[in-house]
Each structure stands twice: as C-alpha cells, then as structure tokens.
Amino acid sequence: MECQECHQRPATLHYTQVINGHKTEVQICEVCAKEKGYMTYPEEGYSLHNLLTGLFNFESNPMGASHGTTFNKENDLQCPKCGLTFTEFKQIGKFGCGECYHTFASNLNPIFRRVHSGNTEHRGKIPKRIGGNLHLKKQLSSLKDELQNLIMNEEFEQAAVVRDKIKEIEQQIDQKEKGDAR
C-alpha cells in the first residue's frame, strides 16, 4: 500500500482518528507522518533510550505523578565530577562519566535489572593492568565455593587439591599487595 500523502513511499503507519464520533483511517509513510504531525517523536524515532527514559521515570514515581512534581532541585542527586543530575540522567538515558555510576548507585539496580534480565553485577573480563588483584580475588572466591561443595560431598582428596590452590593464590595476593605498597 502506498502512502496517501506523498504517493511515493510505502505506507508503514496506519492511524485511526476519531473526531466527534467520525472515524477516519490514514495510511501514511513515516516521513509524511512526521511532517503532518502524526508523530511527535524525537529525531531518531522511538529508540531504546526513550524506552529507558520511560522506565526511569516510572522508577522515581512509585507514588504516582504527584510525586514527580515535588521532586525538586535540592534533593536531586548530582555527580560531583561531571555535574550531571539524576533528573538529567533520566532524561537523556546516558551517564556523564564513570563517577555517575557511584553517585547514582542507590537508584541503579532496578534499572540494570530491567535492562539486563535481572542482572546487576559484572561477571566478565577484568582489565589486565588496572584490574590488579581482582583476577586473583575472583578466582579465590570461586575456589572457596568449590572447596565448600567438595567438603559437603565428602570428596576430600579433590578438596585437598583445591585447598592447596587457595593457599597458593593467597600467597600471590599477599606478594602483590606488598609489591604495591613499596
């Protein structure tokens, strides 16, 4: 079906207007819809971040719309490093700097849970250089879990192997920390 406005592009949007009980249907393409004011979208259409912004607003308004209007400047969180406020963050759907993650920390878990299927903590790569001991610490905690499991299942031989590994890693961490202190 072609757009009834420009007769050039295919109609991708279908509107049903009801004015004074009179129903009209409009078959129109996106370009014409924007021109004729059928759509009040921002530039790039309904992007993921509009969707996010919607989520954020919902987050700050658990008591309904009236709560939003009382949300004034004084109790708005502001990032000390880049100056972005939490209200601005909700509007643009983007962080201003790494510090924002700490500044807004208390409000972020519900957002991350929605965007990342319930997840709030990183499990992936740790940067080689600045990650420092993190690799070892993560490895250590997973080995400790493993050790607990092995002991519960009475697999003592395997447990001894894991215990030795734990000792080894603990020593490595010790050495690294001493090295850093120097």
Binding site: G96, H116, T120, H122, R123
Partner: protein
C-alpha cells in the same frame, strides 16, 4: 596507504576469505565499548577533553600494527566529505552515529579493514572486529587481545561490581555487542522468520536489519546480536548467541531444501528472473536490487547458478548504496540518477564474472 584505499573497493579484504557456514553467515562481529577513567563521556565532555583523546590516539596508534591488523590508518571524521562518510558507514567501518559527529570524532582502521577503533563515539573507544562466516569465538579472542593491547596505555573506566563503565546503561558490564550477519532468504520467503523473532528476543538477543538499529532487512540480511551485557561472561554471551545462530542455520537449510523439493521450478524461475533483472535492467531501485541480489545469492548457494562468485551479494549490496554510487560518480546524484548508475554498475559487475 590512504583513505582512498578504503573507498575504492566495496568489499573489504577480509570478506574475500572463506569462513565456516558462509552459505548463510556472512560475517561475525565483536564490538567492545570502553572509556577513559578520568574523563567525562563524550555526551557531556568539553571539546578540549575530546580533542586530547583524539590526539592521544593519533600520536600513539597512527600507522602502528597489532598482530594481523597492520598499519592502522587514522581518519578524522571532520576531514571527510559527506559522501566519504556515507561510504565508510555503508562498508560498516564506522557507525552512523560517528559519521554524524563533528569535532573530535575519529577512527583507526586496519589495512585489511578487519579492525576499526572508533574514537569519541557514544563512548571514548569502540573497538570493532570482523571475521568472515561464523567465527564468534575467534573474533572474541582477537578482540580481547586488542583490548589488552590498548589497555597497556589507556586506563579504562572499570568498576569491580559494574564492570566496564559505558555512557549508556545498556552497554555496561562487558561493554560487548556480538553480532552475526545472516542471509535468511528461505526463512523470509516462508515467513518463518517472523514467528522466530519473538522467541529470539526472549533469549536476550535482538534481530535487526543490515545497517543496525531501526534499519530494515534489505536483501534478507539479518543481524542477530546480544542485548544483555551485564551479569554474564563474554564467553557465555557468545555461547548463547552461537547456539541460536546454529539453530537458525539449521532451520534455514531445512527451509531451503523444502522449497527446492516442493517448488523447485518456481524457485529456479524466481532466481533466474532476478538474475535477468540484474543483468539487463537500466534503472533499478536499491530495494529491488537487494531483493534480486538475495535471490541470485540463494541460487549460487543452491548450485542453481554457477560461475558467479558468492561475494557478489556482499559486494553489490554495498556498491549500490547511495554513498558509494555518489563516490563513484564523484558528485551528488538525484534518486533517479542513482537508480540508473546502480543498474549500470550491476550490469558491469556481472559482465565481469563471465
């Protein structure tokens, strides 16, 4: 090497190599989003800060090499004409967002065009790496090595609990978007793909058209990628994506065979008609060209059309985009002029195969 090198060929050198399952999977891509720890993100940063980052990359990495990715060419977006920008976008060497940026946006592109490091896009650094066919694991390994190489000199914004910090909350954690470009004509013909999409979405994956977010599936090319970046390891994300891609490959092959068995002559007719259109038309719109190219490529994959190379789809899909056509013509063209030039380039290219 100069910028022209990237412009003159529609097909990147790495695309000429054979990859696994390349009758269906055109390419695998890994993208990593990274930021400097001590700088505001591009959305809010001062022009001065962004300029510093741009200069840092130019000084440290221009014409350097990492493993197979040789002689990184440093390209400042502000030095490009509008047409040159579209060519780089059409070749997937830069993102549409980077092309729109003024000021300190730049990119480093390796000689074989497999690697592109975008600077001051939505994040300070976007590492992008392509492999032909289905090679996600290999692409990930290489991308992470490249990441380590950059990290030797760049202190990343990284947090113990949140991982790599990115401007958009949808990228935090691994900062990784893995995607696979698939040619799924049989699933599209039988409309099965529409039924599969909701299921794919439920697995935390997204299906998009060839030029990313919001673009349509021109030429039955679909890009499948992960949506979730937090709470899973990179390897795990890739495993999930790969298993869905494998299933799609299986379904597509089955659908191809079924169509071939049940309506072989109709399929053959459709494929040859498309070849006819491409070989003889004088005016062709990009959509029609994409549709015909997809059919011809299917014909090649099924052994119906011989002596035309597989790369014809990838190559002509890019070559017939508006930016490329205008680069070729060395001037801006009206829609009609583009359709005429497109038809003539396609004819020429197919003639060349004979």
């Amino acid at each position: 090497m100069t910028l022209e090198h990237f412009m003159n060929e529609a097909i990147s050198p790495w695309m000429r190599e054979e990859g696994p399952d390349n009758d269906i999977v055109l390419s695998s891509r890994i993208r990593l989003a990274r930021n400097f720890a001590d700088m505001p993100f591009p959305i809010i940063a001062d022009q001065k800060d962004l300029e510093k980052i741009r200069e840092f990359f130019q000084i440290e990495y221009e014409h350097t090499s990492f493993q197979d990715y040789k002689d990184l060419e440093f390209v400042s977006i502000r030095d490009l004409t509008a047409i040159e920008k579209s060519v780089l976008v059409e070749k997937h060497l830069i993102s549409p967002l980077l092309a729109k940026k003024e000021g300190a946006a730049a990119t480093l592109i390796s000689e074989n065009e497999q690697v592109s490091i975008m600077i001051n896009e939505e994040d300070h650094i976007r590492i992008q790496l392509y492999f032909p066919g289905l090679q996600l694991t290999k692409a990930l390994t290489k991308a992470l090595e490249l990441d380590d190489w950059l990290e030797e000199k760049v202190s990343y914004a990284f947090d113990e609990t949140r991982g790599f910090l990115t401007s958009c909350p949808t990228n935090v954690g691994t900062g990784m978007r893995a995607s696979v470009m698939m040619h799924l004509p049989a699933l599209a013909m039988t409309k099965q793909i529409n039924r599969m999409m909701p299921a794919i979405n439920q697995l935390g994956l997204v299906v998009r058209g060839i030029y990313g977010e919001g673009s349509e599936a021109l030429g039955n090319l679909f890009q499948i990628s992960n949506q979730i970046t937090l709470g899973k390891t990179e390897e795990h994300i890739i495993e999930d994506l790969e298993s869905v891609v494998q299933q799609l490959i299986g379904h597509e092959r089955k659908a191809r065979n079924r169509i071939l068995e049940q309506s072989g002559i109709e399929l053959e007719d459709r494929i040859y008609r498309s070849l006819g259109v491409l070989e003889y038309s004088r005016i062709i719109e990009s959509k029609e060209a994409a549709r015909c190219l997809s059919n011809v490529r299917l014909g090649i994959d099924l052994g119906i059309i011989k002596n035309v190379s597989r790369n014809i789809l990838n190559e002509l899909m890019v070559l017939t985009q508006p930016g490329f056509l205008q680069y070729f013509a060395k001037k801006t063209l009206t829609a009609n002029e583009r359709d005429i030039l497109r038809a003539s380039l396609i004819r020429e290219r197919l003639q060349f195969e004979k």
